[in-house]
């Protein structure tokens, strides 16, 4: 008998959700309208905007990449393929020596292997890799999930603007003593 209040409470939870879904305008206006009441959306017809920090797909900012290979080496799945060559760039000051820079020939991410851990984005020292909230990039052929440099650069358009940290997080950061 001690279970009875719990049983009734449980029925109230599901029954309440049923009523809220069926009559979203309240019991006073009993017109069944579950399309409005349901929390879900009918995906291919209507879409929810993912949050700005959602981990959808990884974008490449090509100009920033130095082909340093850090991301490729840190990738747990070894799904990043980078090839580059050394080039001479014009000197910074007149009369100086020409600089040696790494030029990017190939930067592919195989999203069939990628597990979206984000280590490559974390590890990149030159701000060349970004998360974007775009998530619709499935392919009928698995080989097409290998995104090459131009495809990865296209995703840059969908990278949202940098958001401020949450209130108070800066203050917390300053308390950490410099190492």
């Amino acid at each position: 008998m001690a279970l009875v209040p719990g049983i009734i409470k449980g029925l109230g939870v599901t029954g309440g959700t049923l009523l809220r879904t069926l009559f979203p305008d309240g019991i006073t206006k009993p017109v069944p309208n579950p399309v409005k009441g349901a929390e879900t959306v009918q995906y291919p017809r209507e879409k929810e905007t993912p949050s700005a920090r959602a981990r959808g797909v990884i974008a490449l900012h090509e100009e920033n990449c130095t082909a340093c290979m850090l991301c490729a080496r840190e990738c747990p799945d070894w799904c990043i393929y980078i090839e580059g060559h050394k080039e001479k760039a014009p000197p910074r000051r007149p009369g100086g020596k020409p600089r040696q820079v790494n030029a990017l020939d190939r930067f592919d991410i195989d999203f069939a292997l990628c597990m979206f851990c984000g280590i490559c984005v974390e590890v990149c020292p030159f701000e060349a890799l970004f998360w974007t909230p775009e998530y619709e990039f499935s392919e009928p052929r698995i080989a097409d999930l290998l995104h090459d440099m131009s495809r990865l650069s296209e995703w840059m358009e969908t990278v949202p603007d940098f958001e401020d940290y949450e209130a108070g997080s800066q203050a917390k950061k300053q308390r950490v003593p410099p190492t």
Binding site: L11, T17, L18, T21, P34
Partner: protein, 346 residues
């Protein structure tokens, strides 16, 4: 309708039988389909704040046809070591129990399948045939999950058969008949302490029996929270694990058709069956209206069943047996004693 009812009496026996078989099939399958769509597809979705199937037909109403079509296309697989005959026959045994049970449910003053004096006795007897089918499925599959599921189902169904029948006994004592029509008429013509405006639906005077009946029914149907036999996180799907295609579909239909038919029995026993207050039960219009009233009551009762099903988590096996033997059966026996005393004294 009035002419056709008169006509039935003039038809040959085999013609009457044909009509009854057809109507019985329609009653079981239509109710099963209605319950699956209304409750399994939509009610549970709304309780989880989602919409459920929406693509096939308006509001997903043709989803059921799509599901049936899918199951019909699937291969009929027999496990290598299965007892082929037992394995193949099991779903039909389970389903035949449902079809036999619907036979005792009356739909109107003249709209009945079998109007025997032992109506509810027959119903309770044939409803336990499904245990044999489930045990056959569990044994014939030659799979440990199926066997465990079958054994659990057998233990559960036998344990809950008892409170179910004992709860019915209270109604039988009060109605003074086992005839299902008699039980309906006893409720239609009954009075509660001299007040007979709505008759005497036994849910009011036999409330304890109603609660016991509904709980035992939930367990008989192996609906959650009593779904140990098909506990999907432990036993895959219990005795249905090895079934595919058409035979799985038969089990599936059996599950929901039995829910509907058991609810119809409960509606007859406790809610007055096809009777609605305000219309004379001898009126010929009840042959047309009665089945609809009954379906309405069935949908209401199955709403309760599915509300429980979608709300509560699964009980443990020992809690299940404890509930049956230590709570429901003593309660049902006490209910019989009190009903008997009041029947004689008042």
């Amino acid at each position: 309708m009035i002419e056709s009812v008169d006509l039935i009496g003039e038809l040959a026996y085999w013609q009457q039988t044909g009509i009854r078989v057809f109507v019985g099939l329609a009653a079981v399958l239509l109710i099963a389909g209605t319950l699956v769509y209304l409750h399994l597809f939509k009610l549970v979705s709304f309780m989880q704040s989602r919409l459920g199937p929406m693509e096939a037909g308006p509001f997903g109403s043709l989803q059921l046809l799509a599901e049936v079509g899918k199951f019909l296309q699937k291969e009929d697989i027999f496990p290598a070591k299965a007892d082929r005959f037992v394995f193949a026959a099991a779903p039909f045994v389970v389903l035949s129990s449902t079809f036999l049970l619907v036979v005792v449910v009356p739909g109107g003053p003249d709209a009945w399948f079998v109007n025997g004096d032992l109506g509810i006795y027959l119903g309770m007897a044939v409803s336990s045939v499904s245990v044999i089918g489930i045990l056959m499925a569990g044994w014939g599959s030659a799979s440990k999950y199926s066997l465990l599921g079958g054994l659990r189902a057998t233990g559960q169904l036998i344990a809950y058969e008892l409170p179910l029948i004992l709860a019915v006994l209270g109604v039988v004592i009060q109605a003074e008949t086992m005839n299902m029509q008699g039980i309906v008429l006893a409720q239609a013509g009954g009075e509660i302490f001299g007040w007979g405006a709505i008759g005497n639906p036994f849910i009011l005077t036999q409330g304890v029996a109603f609660v016991i009946f509904m709980i035992a029914m939930q367990a008989e149907l192996t609906q959650s929270p009593f779904d140990m036999p098909i506990a999907e996180s432990e036993l895959v799907t219990g005795y249905m694990t090895e079934y595919s295609g058409m035979r799985f579909l038969l089990f599936f239909i059996g599950e929901f058709a039995t829910a509907g038919v058991f609810s119809a029995v409960a509606a007859v026993l406790f809610l007055g069956g096809w009777y609605i207050p305000g219309i004379d039960p001898a009126n010929n219009i009840m042959n047309l209206l009665g089945p609809l009233v009954l379906v309405g009551k069935v949908v209401g009762l199955t709403f309760l069943v599915f509300w429980f099903r979608f709300t509560f988590p699964r009980l443990r096996e020992d809690q299940l047996q404890k509930l049956a033997w230590k709570v429901l059966i003593p309660l049902a026996l006490a209910n019989i004693v009190v009903t008997g005393i009041l029947k004689v004294a008042v």
